[in-house]
């Protein structure tokens, strides 16, 4: 059974890297379209948001479907969100702002949509740093869980950032906003109505190697 769980993790790990690989491949071939830097910024930004939403979808999915074994994938998905957001920022900093710290910082301060995006990225740094088993143990499960609720704020910041930068067509940012509201609303609802009964899964479903990971986190 545990080899199956590992296989699923491999599946998640590999698929998360596919967009990055294709983006890099297209960049090498010069096939990012007419405005390649902006295309790369937008692609990585969208991917960061997608992975944030996927990360936040794990817990409801695990609870509703009883897939306790799936929980460890949340970490991988969250790290991908951070990875894409970091790449997003680094492309902006290096290729759009041409490594000018002053222009990057002044833009981040002057443009509310960039300030909000930066908040989202900054909040994800401590989450990525504390994503190892060692850090979970050192922090203790409940403190770790509280800290990692910052994911909610990062995701809200990401959606706000997106909403604030579009010119007229709000459909995509609103779609993300709705998804996020559902995912966070579910958490608010279950928190208010008491913990959902844990599905009595067979023992084999409990992931072996990630025992310290708090799989009940909201």
């Amino acid at each position: 059974m545990s080899s199956e769980i590992q296989f699923i993790r491999l599946l998640v790990l590999l698929n998360g890297a596919v967009p990055a690989a294709l983006l890099a491949w297209d960049a090498l071939r010069g096939e990012l379209g007419a405005n390649p830097i902006n295309f790369a910024i937008r692609t990585t930004g969208t991917l960061a948001l997608i992975f944030l939403v996927l990360t936040l979808a794990v817990t409801p999915l695990v609870r509703l479907a009883g897939w306790n074994w799936f929980t460890p994938n949340r970490r991988v998905l969250g790290l991908y969100a951070f990875f894409y957001a970091l790449a997003h920022f680094l492309i902006f900093f290096s290729l759009d702002r041409e490594l000018s710290l002053s222009s990057t910082l002044s833009e981040m301060a002057l443009r509310p949509y960039l300030a909000v995006g930066s908040l989202g990225l900054l909040l994800m740094v401590p989450l990525a740093v504390t994503s190892t088993n060692r850090m979970i143990q050192r922090l203790g499960t409940s403190r770790w869980k509280r800290l990692h609720r910052l994911t909610y704020v990062a995701a809200i910041a990401g959606v706000a950032h997106y909403t604030m930068l579009v010119k007229a067509d709000l459909r995509w940012p609103l779609a993300f906003a709705v998804l996020l509201m559902v995912l966070l609303g579910w958490r608010a609802y279950t928190a208010a109505t008491g913990p959902a009964p844990r599905p009595p899964g067979p023992a084999g479903r409990t992931p072996r190697r990630s025992a310290p990971l708090p799989d009940t986190a909201g």
């Binding site: 599946l11 590999l14 698929n15 596919v18 294709l22 692609t43 041409e98 949509y113 067509d169």
Partner: protein, 420 residues
């Protein structure tokens, strides 16, 4: 792979085979999922790159006023795009492989001398003597007016030499492929890279343009009638989008003033309103209310009559691709790109300032004038710099997009921050 499906596998499969099969299955699952993810990425995140072919224009006059009788400097300066793909690497004379090229000898028109018609002793009166916001009562008393305004035969460029400043630039031209695959044309889709694909089946003919309002001779023009007013003339303009990117585009067309002359504007007319085709069946983006449809734009009459203001019917020596506003669009090179309304079906002269789509959608972000100005930021982003497509790094944006010598007098005394 090796077992008959009739035998219950769990009972008799030897362990080795069992794991082999499982590994095989997993390999398939991995490959399948990666393929699915990759396909989804490709479908949802296309960088564009449609191959687009349009008919070559006849009688093209080069930006120096000569017909395209041979390879033109302006059409050969394009180097392989730094970021371009195969299609753009062939340079300006042949934007797409296998496409008829514009620089071939024109079939009909002999060389037209660039000799100015009616050389003006003074600069156009309408623009110099006009207070910034009140165009002259009769702007048609300009030296550019020809004695036979309705000459149906193609003639030499009407603009005297003095007015032709800014008609061309030596700057490196954006490859055709990129111009035709990166468009803000919400009538088709709000995704710039997808407009070309969404507009592929659009039929720009037959087409007619209603020209009316405060004019002596309101009438509906057939497209061909308009195109016959003057030979298409190449104009190499910078194009600066309000979003912070720019291109250099070899348009083809003639000054809008030539069309306006035909209808004889009345003295009361002070503005010109433009309207894009409204037909959600042909322009599916109009089924979505991201903007108020139809798209409308407007210019002050003196802006509309400025020789730089172009009624464009082509680019790179060929007819306009659908994605660029076929069959007829406006180009106002010193203003942000959204002023260049596409697929025009109506032009109306008015006394009052007409509504303009982006101004209606977000009045604090997009003004009526929308002159390119690095000093006046968009409320949400900077306008100080721009990404010139094909270049690495951003360049400084220039007031009036570099056409200040030609147009700054139109705004003398105006607070450009207020009238953004």
């Amino acid at each position: 792979m090796s077992r008959s499906p009739k035998i219950p596998s769990g009972e008799i499969t030897p362990e080795g085979d069992y794991f082999d099969r499982r590994r095989f299955l997993r390999g398939g699952l991995l490959a399948g999922s990666v393929l699915t993810t990759g396909t989804a990425y490709r479908l949802l995140n296309s960088p564009g790159g449609e191959e687009i072919e349009t008919a070559p224009l006849r009688d093209l006059v080069s930006s120096t006023g000569e017909t395209a009788a041979g390879p033109q400097p302006s059409l050969t300066t394009t180097e392989p795009a730094a970021n371009g793909g195969a299609g753009s690497a062939t340079g300006g004379t042949e934007p797409l492989p296998g496409t008829p090229i514009a620089s071939q000898p024109p079939p009909i028109q002999p060389v037209v001398e660039p000799a100015p018609v009616d050389p003006p002793p003074t600069p156009p009166a309408a623009v110099t003597t006009t207070p910034p916001e009140v165009p002259a009562n009769d702007p048609f008393e300009t030296p550019t007016e020809s004695p036979a305004p309705d000459a149906a035969v193609a003639s030499a460029p009407a603009e005297p030499e003095a007015d032709r400043a800014g008609f061309s630039t030596e700057e490196k031209q954006t490859p055709f492929r990129n111009i035709a695959n990166y468009n803000n044309f919400y009538e088709f889709t709000t995704s710039k890279e997808r407009v070309a694909a969404a507009a592929r089946r659009f039929q720009p003919r037959p087409w007619s343009v209603q020209v009316d309002g405060l004019v002596q001779q309101p009438r509906e023009f057939d497209l061909e009638e308009i195109l016959r007013l003057a030979p298409p003339e190449e104009r190499i303009y910078r194009m600066r989008c309000v979003e912070g990117w720019s291109m250099v585009i070899p348009w083809a067309g003639f000054s809008l003033s030539r069309l306006l002359k035909q209808v004889e504007p009345l003295g009361k007319a002070r503005y010109v309103a433009f309207q894009t085709l409204h037909d959600p069946q042909r322009m599916p983006g109009q089924k979505v209310p991201v903007l108020e449809w139809p798209y409308v734009e407007g210019l002050r009459l003196d802006e509309a009559l400025h020789p730089l203001t172009l009624l464009a019917s082509g680019l790179y020596g060929k007819e306009l691709p659908n994605s660029c506003g076929a069959p007829l669009r406006l180009v106002v090179p010193w203003k942000y790109g959204f002023k260049g309304i596409k697929s025009i079906v109506r032009i109306t002269l008015t006394e009052n300032q007409p509504p303009t789509s982006w101004n209606v959608a977000a009045p604090y972000e997009y003004g009526f004038y929308a002159n390119v100005n690095p000093e006046v930021d968009h409320p949400r982003w900077s306008q100080a710099t721009e990404q010139r497509l094909g270049e690495f790094g951003r360049r400084k944006t220039v007031l009036f997009n570099g056409y200040a010598d030609q147009v700054a007098h139109l705004y003398a005394g105006m607070d450009l921050r207020r009238w953004f």
